[in-house]
């Protein structure tokens, strides 16, 4: 009694879910060990007698009750969040475009105003140059402050 391998993977062996090497090795042990042979034979007999027993099946529909009970929209949020993310991305792109446009305008106006300032000081009166240059500066300032609104991080620099 009590072969050192009596507690081996005989249940796996019977269900044929071992590697070929393991299986061959165990089969050769069975060849010279009546005790382990008995174990395997007992497991097989038990399977034959009690496997897949008949049980009374329900006459009612389990599925209908389950499908009525679950919240079918539970994972719709996942889809919504995916879409929201895409929308958010799109909005960011839109903002970037507007920001780029405003930046270009601001840049152009600033350089334009400085050209007018230097040229007009001699040819036009100083009052005229102020009239032209001040509004242009204000426009560029407004443009910059709009830019700062759009890109909050740039405001800290």
């Amino acid at each position: 009694m009590t072969c050192y391998r009596s507690q081996d993977s005989w249940h796996s062996y019977v269900k044929q879910c071992l590697s070929d090497a393991e299986r061959n090795e165990m089969a050769s042990h069975l060849g010279h060990c009546p005790e382990c042979r008995d174990i395997v034979s007992d497991i097989k007999k038990t399977i034959k007698i009690i496997s897949n027993p008949d049980i009374p099946m329900p006459q009612f529909d389990i599925k209908v009750n389950i499908m009525d009970s679950i919240d079918k929209n539970r994972y719709k949020q996942n889809l919504v969040s995916v879409n929201t993310f895409r929308l958010f991305e799109l909005r960011n792109w839109g903002f970037s475009m507007i920001a780029a446009g405003v930046f270009l305008i601001a840049f152009n106006l600033t350089s334009f105003s400085s050209i007018i300032k230097t040229d007009q000081v001699t040819e036009l009166g100083s009052s005229l140059s102020k009239q032209i240059s001040i509004p242009l500066d204000k426009v560029s300032q407004a443009a910059f402050s709009f830019l700062n609104h759009l890109i909050p991080t740039s405001r800290t620099n």
């Binding site: 005989w10 879910c17 994972y75 719709k76």
Partner: protein
């Protein structure tokens, strides 16, 4: 066989992915695929149709509500069976009535095949189920999955979150306990060894 298992795995995964991005109706396909299997497991633990039905419904609803915790790439069936077995064991701890003792098994002491053979076989089946489910939970679960539902020790290890080695040991001990239980019930404590006589249960020795 291996190919078949892979196909099931892929199909399950496809359905789950669809459910997880909002196709709630798709869960009906999962119910179709597993309701009979899970009903059977639940029935072994409850031994009655109504409780088994309630358990299956609870298991499917629980699985649906926790679907986002299922790790894609692993076997969905293992995950589902794990929920099912745990739910059944919870139920047993809380609600299961103590069964009446397994009644006389001496009807199996004869080898004669009578017209009542099928009826007797069903009786044997339900006696054995009752005996199995009345064993300590760690043994009843491995016996149910291995003998009744044809899982391998490796699969049982994954479902019950333990090692294959442990499952093998529990199968050995569980089968011994089952045999002793059926033996003592049928002998009626009178030293009358029915299991030594020919018959279906005698083969369990």
């Amino acid at each position: 066989m291996h190919y078949h298992a892979q196909t099931i795995l892929k199909e399950d995964e496809k359905i789950i992915q669809a459910v997880l991005i909002g196709n709630g109706e798709g869960y009906g396909d999962i119910v179709d695929r597993y309701q009979t299997k899970l009903y059977r497991v639940s029935y072994y633990y409850t031994q009655n149709i109504e409780d088994a039905r309630d358990l299956v419904q609870d298991i499917f609803i629980k699985a649906y509500n926790n679907l986002s915790s299922f790790k894609q790439g692993s076997a969905f069936s293992t995950w589902l069976y794990r929920i099912a077995v745990n739910h059944c064991l919870d139920w047993c701890r809380k609600k299961r009535p103590q069964y009446a003792e397994v009644s006389c098994l001496d009807i199996f002491s004869t080898e004669e095949e009578g017209p009542e053979d099928l009826y007797l076989r069903q009786e044997v089946a339900s006696e054995i189920q009752a005996a199995v489910v009345n064993l300590p939970a760690i043994y009843s679960t491995v016996l149910i999955l291995y003998y009744f539902e044809d899982f391998s020790p490796q699969e049982i290890a994954e479902i019950t979150n333990t090692s294959k080695r442990t499952v093998e040991t529990r199968l050995f001990r569980g089968r011994k306990m089952l045999r002793d239980k059926l033996h003592s019930k049928s002998s009626g404590g009178e030293g009358h060894d029915l299991l030594s006589k020919p018959g279906q249960l005698a083969q369990l020795r």
